[in-house]
């Protein structure tokens, strides 16, 4: 597969997962949260500093439609993670001798 096509396809899949499929993710507590509930130390958890933030808990603040809210938050997360990681790895890379 051509490099360009590989990246286009992979990024498309990534956006589809974060922007669309994420709506169908299980909302049950994750492993650590469940263990903390069952054993009893869940009360020790303090709310996150950003718990009222614009994208807190993978939803856009103020967006009522659940599907749009989580999808938009996912796409923004993909954009932010992509920008930071791509930037970091491009900076770190060995420049090929020309």
């Amino acid at each position: 597969m051509k490099t360009k096509n590989f990246y286009i396809l992979a990024l498309f899949a990534t956006l589809l997962l974060a922007g669309g499929v994420s709506y169908y993710a299980s909302s049950s507590p994750d492993g650590l949260e469940k263990v903390a509930e069952d054993i009893g130390f869940i009360e020790q958890a303090k709310p996150n500093t950003n718990s009222e933030g614009f994208l807190a808990d993978y939803g856009v603040k103020g967006l009522k439609n659940e599907r749009l809210s989580v999808g938009a938050a996912g796409i923004m997360g993909v954009a932010a993670t992509g920008a930071v990681s791509w930037g970091l790895f491009l900076l770190l890379r060995r420049k090929d001798a020309k």
Binding site: M1, T3, F6, Y7, A10, L11, A13, T14, L17, A18, V21, S22, Y24, A25, S26, S27, S28, P29, D30, G31, L32, K34, V35, A36, I39, G40, F41, Q44, A45, K46, N48, T49, N50, S51, G53, F54, L55, A56, D57, Y58, V70, A73, G74, M76, G77, V78, A80, T81, G82, V84, S85, W86, L88, F89, L90, L92, R93, R94, K95, D96
Partner: protein
């Protein structure tokens, strides 16, 4: 698996953060050696893909869910040092933007997922290839086995932190038993996703896969 603020006391969180910071610093050094014009974009893609898939919680048992951690996946695709950095970027984004994982717990989370998860996953991957088969076709399976073990290993990292500085008063053995059992189940999901993702990249662009081309690089150096 993302530890919130409050589970582990501040002295322990700070000490582990220092260790995690040292691990990230070493990884910055190691990643410089492996990243080039061809692999840097794959590293960015890997971090971004892991962020997306971490949103997809799957059910594992009654009332419990889990999601990909991605340590083994990233390590096989882009090498362990770059993988640590990729996972760290994901964890920072989650804590800073999405309130997922506490800010005082960021060092704990980096230590468990970006360091333990990556190295147990990668070490197992290398061991499986060494012990059983060096064939190209075994790479997705070896990555799966690494993924399977990486999740309970990362969970054990939490248990250690709980044993040292947990704010709860419950026995470490009880926490270990519950954490280990649940995360073996989550590890099965991790193994499936990792096997499929590594398989897809091997099928389309095996030349980009660090865990596959590593030997080829060594051969080139020798001649």
């Amino acid at each position: 698996m993302h530890i919130p603020d409050g589970f582990i006391d501040i002295p322990t969180s700070t000490a582990v953060a220092a260790l995690a910071g040292a691990g990230v610093a070493l990884s910055l050094k190691g990643a410089r050696k492996t990243l080039d014009d061809k692999t840097a974009p794959l590293a960015g893609l890997t971090a971004t893909f892991i962020f997306a898939v971490q949103m997809l919680n799957f059910p594992v048992a009654a009332g419990t869910s889990g999601h990909l951690l991605g340590g083994a996946l990233a390590a096989v695709l882009v090498g362990p040092f770059t993988a640590t950095l990729a996972l760290t970027v994901v964890l920072l984004m989650q804590a800073l933007l999405f309130a997922d994982g506490g800010l005082t717990a960021i060092g704990l989370n980096v230590f468990n997922m970006s360091i333990i998860g990556v190295w147990v996953g990668y070490g197992t991957f290398c061991l499986v290839r060494k012990l059983f088969s060096n064939k190209k076709s075994i790479i997705p399976l070896a990555a799966s086995i690494g993924a399977l073990l990486s999740v309970p290993a990362a969970a054990t990292g939490f248990v250690l932190q709980y044993a040292i500085g947990g704010t709860g008063t419950f026995s470490t053995t009880a926490v270990f038993t519950a954490m280990f059992g649940t995360h073996v189940l989550i590890g099965i999901g991790e193994a499936i996703i990792t096997g499929l993702a590594v398989g897809a990249v091997m099928a389309s662009r095996s030349d980009l896969v660090y865990g596959f081309k590593k030997e080829n690089i060594k051969l080139e150096i020798r001649k």
